[in-house]
Amino acid sequence: MATHHSRSAARFMMAPAVVLLLGWMLVPLTMTLYFSFKKYLPLRGGDLGWVGFDNYVRFVTSSSFWPSVMTTLIIVGGVLLITVFFGVLLAVLLNQPMWGQGVVRILVIAPFFVMPTVSALVWKNMFMDPNYGLFAYLWEFFGAQPVEWLSQASLTSIVIIVSWQWLPFATLILLTAIQSLDSEQLEAAEMDGAPALKRFGFITLPHLGRAITVVILIQTIFLLSIFAEIFVTTGGAFGTKTLTYLIFQRVLESQNIGLGSAGGVYAIILANIVAIFLMRIVGKNLDA
């Protein structure tokens, strides 16, 4: 039905989006690659020439590289574990018949809409502050010594804050997936005398497999680059320097562009590995 005329019109209509995104992808990427092979210190001499793979080697061998990789893995892994585990439980709970389901849904989804700087600050000051935070009162109430959350348990604190932000996302997606589950299948299993736990393990959980994968992949891409939550709370101190934050410091704080750019290339490669898996799933969906 598509004529030659409409084809060229279609191409014309797609052009702005394609050209803009192509530019957005290629121009900064090329520049990052270019800088990554240079010794470039804008405040201390500017462009000091080509250095080959020096920056790549230096970035990986610097003493803060492996700790930052570990920190990144702990935060991403911790948040994924918490959000998927509690997300499944919450989704199952919210799917049950109850009064006020709409209001409950609205309350659960709310943290996702809070801007990262606000949630980080609210948690930092009003909950985790060792003097005035709500947790300090709670600890004292039970006769315990208040915890200095962001210095003594810095990674745990960040995982808590970020998990709180992302749990709604996981829950909402898993809930959507559960609702598409054929309830007749569950009823049949129930009539055959399968206990609730088995019905969950053999019917609900396998049905959720794909949604869980999607949640993990999308969250990983966003979590790899969390920034505001660290910027506002610890500023990268107390072992909370992620790979993203390390690159940010190299580029904007120590103004070592070459080194930061090499780090940026590593971050891009890392994100692409995750992205390939996500695209496979989304791509399959397009055929259906």
Partner: protein
């Protein structure tokens, strides 16, 4: 839903769900409550929950700080501008991909998605440098443009998903009846596409409003939106909890309300149609 549920089970479900959801919502509730307290009450020991003298003083103070209005205005321009610009560019693209698909449509869609996966920090310096070069560092126009580009893949995808659900037969029928391309777009497609476009706008305003990497790194005094305004409260040392809460409440309230309206679209929008 033919399953019969005992009343007792429903009561237990309701109680459990409400308890959990209130726990999750509590930090927001606590922020809103604190914003109506005096600074002394905000750090009272033991904490007061509801029995305090409600006051609007904090809001007045935050409003008075002359620059609050500007942060808010910057947020509105940046979030609104980037979304509208994105919609203008994405509607024709999504329209043509949905109604005149070619062999490459799928590849183009996936490639667009892949640009979304580019970690911002990887290209921070080039963008920073380009902003300086074009003299748009700390300007709203730069952020409108950047946030538009960041969210463009999501906008195209969401619109594409919606447009695809418009049955092609309707177009054929309109053409049979002698509708011109202009009439076809104006009277047949647009009315059917408006709900999809509306929810796309909603979700993208939310995403742009809350974006906190580029807005923190590319702005200073002039173009800083609410994300940066709030970040400047980084260490209020207990004495300003009530004001911090008031500012936070004002920063998140509009988006919270928009968000509650768009929660259904959120799933298909953010999973790129992989979960429906």
């Amino acid at each position: 839903m033919a399953r019969s549920v005992t009343k007792q089970r429903k009561i237990i479900n309701t109680a459990a769900a409400w308890a959990v959801s209130l726990l999750i919502f509590f930090p927001i509730l606590w922020t809103i409550l604190t914003s109506f307290k005096t600074e002394a009450q905000a750090i009272a020991d033991p904490p007061v929950f509801l029995a305090f003298n409600w006051t609007l003083e904090n809001y007045a103070v935050v409003m008075e700080r002359s620059n609050y209005g500007r942060f808010l205005w910057n947020s509105i321009i940046i979030a609104g501008g980037s979304t509208l610009l994105g919609i203008l560019i994405a509607v024709p693209a999504a329209w043509s991909m949905a109604f005149v698909p070619s062999r490459r449509t799928k590849d183009i869609l996936l490639w667009m998605l892949s640009t979304k996966m580019l970690p911002a920090v990887g290209v921070l310096y080039p963008i920073y440098l380009l902003c300086i070069k074009f003299g748009v560092l700390d300007s709203k126009i730069a952020l409108v443009f950047i946030l538009m580009l960041i969210n463009l893949p999501i906008i195209v995808w969401m619109l594409y998903t919606y447009f695809k659900e418009i049955p092609g037969e309707i177009l054929e029928a309109a053409r049979m009846d002698g509708a011109s391309l202009k009439e076809e777009v104006l009277y047949v497609l647009t009315p059917m596409a408006i709900p999809g476009i509306a929810s796309t706008i909603l979700l993208n305003v939310i995403l742009a409003w809350n974006e906190a990497f580029w807005t923190l790194n590319l702005t200073a005094a002039k173009a800083a939106p609410l994300t940066a305004f709030i970040a400047s409260y980084s260490s209020p040392e207990g004495l300003f909890y009530a004001k911090l809460s008031a500012a936070s409440t004002m920063a998140i309230a509009p988006i919270l309300i928009l968000g509650w309206f768009s929660q259904k679209q959120l799933v298909s929008g953010l999973t790129f149609g992989a979960v429906k």
